[in-house]
Symmetry: C2
Subunit: 157 residues, 2 copies
């Protein structure tokens, strides 16, 4: 995995080799910090808080503000490049999903690992809402909270 931050000045195509989505189509400029945030998330298998991402950013950038991290995470999330995790503790976490098809997440409340659930009730939900409630679905949240294989074996949780 190349250091994407140092690619910032190069052509978009290099970036696109690694990210199957385009910042340009979202009208987002390709900045070193934006790429670094993506790179950090690409390398992770767990969801991270904005503050944790900021901590990692500070290792690379002398000057990096927490609002920058928040702003970028929100923009990337709105562009469906990364996903928000609705943690029961009410804090926001973010995760870059490598699986492009629509699916849902199983999040481990202990180690924070995110695993894909290849199951989606969207069709049934849309049908139910359309036929019975005559309403219009804008979004649906399906998130499964629990303990992953490893964590469920530990007794101290």
């Amino acid at each position: 995995m190349p250091d994407l931050a140092i690619c910032a000045k190069e052509s978009d195509s290099i970036i696109m080799d690694n990210f199957p989505f385009s910042l340009r189509t979202l009208n987002l400029k390709v900045t070193p910090k934006r790429l670094a945030i993506l790179a950090i998330l690409m390398e992770e298998t767990v969801y991270l808080s904005p503050e944790e991402i900021w901590g990692k950013m500070k290792r690379r950038f002398k000057r990096i503000g927490l609002p920058t991290v928040y702003r970028n995470l929100e923009e990337l999330s709105e562009g469906n490049i990364i996903s928000k995790v609705n943690h029961p503790n009410r804090k926001l976490y973010y995760y870059l999903c490598k699986n492009q098809s629509h699916h849902h997440h199983f999040i481990c409340l202990s180690c924070r690992k995110v695993e894909d659930i290849n199951f989606c009730a969207a069709k049934k939900i849309n049908k139910e809402v359309k036929t019975k409630l005559k309403g219009k679905v804008i979004s649906h949240i399906l998130q499964v909270n629990g303990l992953c294989k490893t964590c469920s074996k530990k007794s101290d949780i």
Copy 2:
């Protein structure tokens, strides 16, 4: 629907006629304010914010603190007497569900009405997590956000 607040000094059975659950089994005392919060939610078909509930409480009680409302809502929610609504705006809302069987909610982002979705993916989810991920499900959130029949007809949304 009787004024439950004035029943506070009476026997629990009167209260239980109206609420198909017991505060006692949750080790919660039957206080006038707790009952009033329940009564407010019982009368509503939309989800309310803690502050809105506080506003209604102030009509009846000269002295009522917002932390009391928050504390009660959290306790009642933990006891599964009321449900939390995960609004996209990240604020907490509460709703007293009259339907006792497990189901999910369709929430209208415009008028806040809550409607039941008689569909639950729990079985499939549990099977998926158990067999494929070898993990343990603690909870699942399925919430459908959208516009209800009435609101989806309005053009100004």
